[in-house]
């Protein structure tokens, strides 16, 4: 077997050194009843060629986003990632290294994390970011639980504009930890309704911008209202490219910003792995979940980086730990950071502008096709009202070769918004794609 270096001769020699008659002897502690006499009932080993064939066949059964007009967003966005990014993350030294617990031989990973943290802080307009979370949805749940630790209050208010998966994840996890989650009704322009719900038991309010319907909101007023009642404002962003154009969460008064970082550096991957961004104001840093990388010096006084403040983490704190996160999303964070380093502030701005311009074109086109656009202010995604169920329209358009977006009912069937369709456009969307959508809409 190509991955197993030991030869039969090696094994015999090693057993001799150990003083065991055979390898079974090394499994002597396994109760006899639980010892499998032979391989389980699954196929036996296969060569690379055969494995590649099976996987290629499975891959070929999927329709790739790049193979035709495609407008899905709703928390995952198809962007163009420079080839350099994927090249670098595949370097052995990044790909096959562990969590940088031995900083002397992990400065590569550590310096990247330090740069990543700085980039995330700048993008979110906050002071400190951690070294990444699993994804945006779990980062959202962690932010809510962090608000509980900071405020010592139990109630979290989730806006109706929050991505339903984020709301569900937060509900599951934060509720398990003992919090009371108030999930507001899904609505296009839901953010205004949040303010009324804030009271003196509120640990935090969670609002998303651009929200799941694509609506861009200045949440400064919500921040004021929350702060007035001693609650924290958590701002969620699922489209990280929007940081290039829109007011940052920090600028608008957020105490915690969480985001899905997939859009920068990472492929769609059918939903994972992605990378959660998490940033806070300076004063909250010691309540923050996740890994942190900090600058220090070595024995010779040279600058270096280490994981730090790990006394907050569960592998150290055991039952006194306060977050569920243990690993992070290191390689995806690396991809994010490389792509962001290539873009720079200048490039991200332009990328964001291109995205917005494409979405404007999309909006004009679907409006011309007679659909009502529900999103008043948008970045690169809009919600439209369909005649009849959106899901049916998506199927009809699929038959015409267009993947027309995400029916809201897919995310939240109980919301009563079956006639709402979410469509996103990015720099990868061409005018031909949009024209194809218009044509399909006309024909459908």
């Amino acid at each position: 077997m190509r991955y197993l270096p030991l030869t039969p001769d090696d094994r015999a020699e090693m057993l001799g050194v150990i003083g065991a008659p055979d390898v079974d002897a090394l499994f002597a502690d396994v109760p006899a009843a639980a010892r499998l006499p032979g391989p389980v009932d699954l196929p036996h080993h296969a060569g690379e060629l055969e494995v590649e064939r099976e996987l290629s066949a499975l891959a070929a059964m999927n329709r790739t986003a790049g193979s035709g007009p495609f407008f899905c967003g709703a928390g995952a966005y198809r962007h163009h990632v420079p080839a350099t990014v994927d090249h670098i993350i595949q370097r052995s030294e990044f790909l096959t290294s562990y969590t940088p617990y031995q900083p002397e031989i992990a400065q590569g990973t550590l310096q990247v994390l330090f740069e990543f943290q700085t980039q995330v802080a700048a993008l979110t307009g906050l002071d400190v970011a951690n070294a990444s979370m699993y994804d945006g949805s779990t980062a959202c749940a962690e932010a809510v639980m962090m608000a509980q630790r900071v405020t010592r209050r139990e109630k979290a208010i989730l806006s109706g504009g929050l991505h339903p998966h984020y709301a569900a994840t937060t509900q599951t996890i934060a509720h398990a930890e003992g919090m009371q989650i108030v999930r507001q009704k899904a609505a296009i322009d839901a953010e205004a309704a949040v303010i009324d719900a804030i009271d003196e038991h509120t640990a935090c309010v969670v609002v998303q911008t651009p929200n799941v319907f694509g609506v861009v909101t200045d949440v400064a007023k919500i921040a004021e209202a929350a702060h007035a009642k001693g609650a924290l404002l958590i701002v969620v962003t699922t489209e990280a490219v929007s940081f290039g154009l829109l007011k940052s969460p920090g600028e608008m008064g957020a105490d915690i910003a969480v985001a899905e970082g997939q859009s920068i550096g990472n492929a769609l991957n059918f939903g994972g792995p992605y990378v959660g961004l998490f940033a806070v104001r300076e004063k909250l840093v010691r309540s923050m979940p996740g890994r942190l990388c900090g600058e220090t010096v070595d024995a010779d006084g040279r600058r270096g980086y280490v994981l730090t403040l790990s006394t907050r983490e569960q592998h150290i704190r055991r039952e006194k730990a306060t977050s569920n996160i243990c690993t992070n999303s290191g390689l995806c964070a690396l991809a994010f950071s490389i792509h962001m380093s290539l873009l720079g502030g200048v490039g991200l701005r332009r990328l964001a502008e291109v995205n917005h311009a494409r979405a404007r074109e999309l909006k004009a086109t679907v409006e011309a096709a007679g659909l009502e656009v529900l999103t008043p202010r948008f970045f690169n995604e809009i919600a439209v009202r369909t005649k009849g169920p959106a899901a049916a329209l998506v199927e009809a358009l699929l038959a015409r070769g267009v993947v027309a977006g995400v029916p809201f009912s897919r995310l939240d069937p109980a919301a009563g918004l079956d006639d709402v369709l979410l469509l996103a456009a990015t720099e990868t969307t061409t005018s031909q794609d949009i024209a194809a959508l218009a044509a399909a809409l006309k024909a459908a």
Binding site: D41, R63, Q111
Partner: protein
């Protein structure tokens, strides 16, 4: 050589990405837009050099043995990387119509089948994103099952003293009181102590098997029986499944829930700290409570159960957005297909053989924590042999760096003094193990031979010397800030 930070490379008005000019009309966003983002951009040549230079400051499995006990740093096949990058897997959206992702769903379904067959368990929740996330998922299943059975009053979880920190952390997180189970002289769960603590308030026990001392819990079946008899569930931490895959099915031991770190047993790359993936296999009793989503087979192909309705009505909720770490599923499945049932069994055998070989080759110069009997996939030493040398476990570990190896896991498990936990994994050749053992033997001789400076000052040959972690924690500097004296 010091590598500047990207913020010091000076590209404040630069970009390494060519984009068409947009018709920059953002008038509908008046008042909602920001000023420029203050981040540097690098031209592509500069970026490549920055990251390639940085990468060379890392140790990696691809460079030498990485014997981190409990972390299972094994070879990461490049075939798996290639497979995960097939456009049919990487360029599909989690919410595109299910009729257009039948291959992806089939892969998840087949992966689930392999996991279930290898563990002898009837169900699996694929969505947890890492081991700790899987533990959380497992405990939430258990909690939901108890609540559904009117046993919501069970508020205690029993955990051995040798457990991974994540076990008590997760239990506490879910609101359980954590009680420790004592350990026997020979490094196993103390059955009597367990029995004495198993009462009507106990929701579950959490046991790692093989345990963190690298030992198989001999009484595991009895443990499960006692647990079930007390009305509790048996959560098994599957971090060490690598040691028994293909030879032992946790389901046969009476396990109710176990997470599987795909990055450990099934070799998805650790990537400097993630992403991982932590699917949880479940017993018949717990299966109905698994979180959404999962793959369902129907008359018109595969689809996803994404909502708490129909068969998923008892689901306890959702662990994260979308459907789990698809990219890791592809890699793990490729790994499984490559090994097959026979190869995976060999994985366990070679992992255990390699660990016992290291133990045998070092036991005369270092002190094994449990000298009697075989270990499983990792060899545990304490620091008794260093007594009086002035060299600590940490010093010894840092000196290994100068020999070209990554240190072993140190000071874990907590139950062993100055613990050194060595896990070679099955993908090490005998030649590399010999090189490693020779290096450690020579170091051991040096440590006992009063060559203290070599250890106290180690590492000497790494990109940096020992780092001041106290300073980092005392005055946290967590982001680059412009030099107040000037500069960008």
């Amino acid at each position: 050589q010091d590598e500047p930070l990207i913020f010091e490379l000076g590209g404040w008005s630069k970009t390494g990405v060519d984009l068409p000019a947009a018709s920059a009309d953002a008038s509908d966003l008046a008042g909602l837009t920001r000023e420029a983002v203050a981040l540097p951009g690098l031209s592509e040549p500069e970026a490549v050099r920055h990251y390639v230079r940085l990468s060379q400051k890392n140790h990696a499995i691809d460079l030498a043995l990485y014997p981190l006990g409990s972390c299972t740093m094994k070879h990461n096949p490049r075939l798996n990387e290639k497979a995960a990058r097939l456009a049919g897997f990487s360029d599909i959206h989690p919410l595109q119509p299910v009729s257009t992702v039948q291959g992806a769903l089939a892969l998840m379904d087949r992966l689930a089948h392999w996991l279930k067959t290898l563990t002898g368990m009837p169900a699996v929740a694929l969505s947890p994103k890492a081991g700790a996330h899987g533990e959380l998922c497992g405990l939430l299943c258990i909690k939901a099952a108890h609540e559904a059975a009117g046993q919501g009053h069970r508020r205690t979880v029993l955990v051995p003293t040798s457990a991974h920190g994540t076990n008590p952390a997760t239990a506490a997180f879910v609101g359980y009181a954590v009680q420790e189970i004592a350990q026997t002289e020979d490094g196993r769960v103390d059955l009597a102590d367990l029995e004495s603590k198993l009462g009507p308030d106990v929701a579950a026990i959490m046991v790692t098997n093989p345990n963190t001392c690298g030992l198989f819990e001999r009484d595991i079946i009895e443990i499960a029986k006692l647990t079930h008899a007390a009305g509790a569930y048996f959560y098994c931490d599957g971090a060490n499944f690598n040691a028994i895959v293909g030879r032992v099915r946790p389901g046969d031991l009476g396990v109710d829930a176990m997470h599987i770190n795909l990055h450990k047993t099934f070799s998805t790359p650790h990537g400097g700290g993630g992403p991982g993936a932590g699917p949880v296999v479940l017993s018949e009793a717990l299966a109905p409570f698994a979180p959404a989503p999962w793959v369902v087979s129907g008359s018109d192909g595969l689809r996803l159960a994404e909502e708490a309705t129909g068969p998923a009505a008892q689901a306890f909720g959702r662990m994260s957005a979308f459907h789990g770490q698809m990219g890791m599923f592809v890699r793990a499945y490729a790994y499984m297909l490559s090994h097959g049932a026979d190869g995976l069994r060999q994985v366990a055998e070679d992992a255990v053989l390699n660990a016992n070989y290291v133990k045998a080759r070092l036991c005369d110069v270092m002190s094994p924590a449990f000298p009697d009997g075989p270990c499983m996939h990792e060899a545990l030493f304490d620091d008794a042999w260093l007594e009086g040398t002035g060299v600590s476990t940490l010093d010894f570990a840092k000196a290994m760096i100068d020999e070209g190896f990554h240190p072993m896991t140190m000071y874990f498990p907590l139950v062993v003094h100055g613990a050194m936990l060595i896990e070679p994994t099955e993908t090490e050749s005998k030649a590399e193990l010999d090189r490693f053992c020779e290096a450690l033997r020579a170091l051991a001789v040096a440590a006992k031979g009063n060559d203290k400076d070599r250890f106290k000052g180690a590492p000497h040959l790494a990109p940096l010397r020992r780092l001041d972690e106290t300073l980092a924690a005392r005055k946290p500097k967590l982001a680059w800030k412009p030099d107040p004296a000037g500069g960008a």
